[in-house]
Amino acid sequence: MKQIVIISGKGGTGKTVITGAFAALARDKVMADCDVDAADLHLILDPEIKESHIFKSGVTAFMHRELCEGCGVCKTVCRFDAVKKDFTIDPVSCEGCGFCSFACPQNAIEMKTNISGELFISDTRFGPLVHAKLCIAEENSGKLVSLVRQKAKEIAEEKNCKWVILDGSPGTGCPVIASITGVDCAVIVIEPTLSGLHDAKRVLDVTEHFKVPVKIIINKYDLNFDMTEKIENWFKDKNITILGKIIFDKEVVKSIVEGKTIIEYSNNQVAETLRTIWRLLEQELKVAD
């Protein structure tokens, strides 16, 4: 079983569209949406939820004002500016360290367990999908990503699947790290812009740090041919496989509006390129069809 993750550094380069296409093209697979902050894969996979689990994570301080004598120790010890002038807690700033609660001489501060999100196991027309929803303004998205991956892997092992296909999130921080560790390949989707290349290099530093093998796709490459060439040369010099280059086509937006993958929606050049890319990825990772 091979695990692949689609990441980009920069947002909006086409991760979810490409993940959706891979979902349509791969056989025997489990999909998982690791962008728990702003999950979108379900919008084109139309899941039917079979199981859901509450995700509890961390704690938040709560001040029992009737017990508070206003000594201010809590405000002094808190490093996250979460204790307000009237010694109530700003739950958005609270990191849940519990320092105030341990330090309060009146035992007036209770640490309450957070319901941080929900995890879903669903059926889709392409097979199982594991996805999640982080509660509004909650933290610990990295932990939720790890849980999503663990469930997806369990299902893949149980059903003897060939692939676990993970839709990643933008950035280089905690959820991205949680989504790339231990995968067989991270596919970085790059758009031909200075920002796209800059961000791809930064996320490449992270994949190298965690020793994750990488391949790239250049998306919307015809929006700037010079930049595309520059990106190709840069990655060739690093001996990183370029799986393919996809043109910009407004049909892609229409397929999203229709709730379909581009493979189902059209036989255009984008779909054709994605088929070629998928075959190449199968060969490179030595997965027999």
Binding site: K10, D37, A38, D40, G98, E139, S141, P170, V203, V206
Partner: protein
């Protein structure tokens, strides 16, 4: 309940943050073009995982400093293995095995609780480097950016370090990271107005709804900019009308703008007619502040 308390005092000037649920909708484009349309302005890049403003601002950097978080270090001579540090660490970053303290620095949030509660004063704090702050300018525009080091998990401390440089005497524009969790909350906290940039696709709308919930929970005034406004459907407009959210600006898709962006150029330079639009955007935001008193 009040969620947010301002740290920046009674500033006359506005602090405007630019955020989005979905990535790649045009936050940086809006932030840099708005900033450079105004005078007496400071631009902060708080997307410390992928800071891009510098590509467009082309600043001259004048200084930089490292961002550290404190992590515990145990003096084994003073430690008797009592386990109090393990008890007070809610992140499981400390384990005491056979009276010996083991620290997992990647789990540490730097709260300082273990140091404070150690009865033998055996825990000191070491500095762990997690990122860098760079300060510069382009002409009159002040610029500050944060960069998270590769492999580091926690961006909020770097974002907080950028925001420490807020200049109250200037209009401040903050480019926030995408998403709906801790990094974006840290970036938009205590700002006067949030611009949510979206695109009118099902992905854009889904993530806009989430971002709007975050901003509403934080009780911050906000409005929406619809980028590539002709690529998608009408549902984003319908949502904003239904929810009484003002649409501040619409930018249609054009290969010309995509090209300008890809080369790291400014829209207001290449297409000067846009400067007026950004000035009007700013006026609309000022009006919101006046109306709120």
């Amino acid at each position: 309940m009040e969620w947010v308390e301002s740290n920046y005092g009674e500033s006359e000037k506005l602090i405007i943050s630019v955020a989005s649920g979905k990535g790649g909708t045009g936050k940086t484009t809006i932030a840099v073009n708005l900033a450079l349309s105004l005078s007496d302005v400071q631009l902060l890049d708080c997307d410390v995982e992928e800071p891009n403003c510098h590509i467009f601002i082309k600043p001259v950097f004048e200084s930089s400093h490292t961002v550290f978080i404190p992590v515990p270090a145990v003096n084994q001579n003073k430690c008797d293995g009592c386990g109090r540090c393990e008890e007070v660490c809610l992140y499981n970053a400390i384990a005491v095995v056979n009276k010996k303290v083991i620290i997992f620095p990647e789990l540490c949030h730097g709260c300082g609780s273990c140091t404070y509660f150690c009865p033998h004063k055996a825990i000191e704090e070491e500095k762990k480097e997690i990122g860098v702050i760079e300060i510069g300018k382009n002409g009159e525009t002040q610029f500050v950016q944060g960069k998270l080091n590769a492999g580091m998990m926690m961006s909020p401390p770097v974002i907080r370090a950028v925001k420490k440089h807020i200049n109250k005497k200037k209009t401040v524009i903050i480019d926030a990271p995408p998403g709906t969790s801790c990094p974006v909350i840290t970036a938009i906290k205590d700002t006067d107005f949030v611009i949510l940039v979206t695109e009118p696709t099902p992905f854009g709308l889904n993530d806009l709804v989430l971002a709007a919930e975050v901003v509403r929970k934080m009780r911050l005034p906000f409005g929406v900019i619809i980028n590539r406004s002709d690529l998608g459907n009408k549902k984003t407009d319908e949502y904003c009308a239904r929810e009484n959210i003002s649409v501040l600006m619409k930018i249609p898709f054009s290969k010309k703008i995509a090209g300008i962006y890809s080369r790291g150029d400014l829209i207001i330079k290449a297409l000067p007619e846009y400067r007026k639009e950004f000035l009007e955007l700013f006026k609309k935001i000022e009006q919101v502040k006046i109306n709120r008193g």
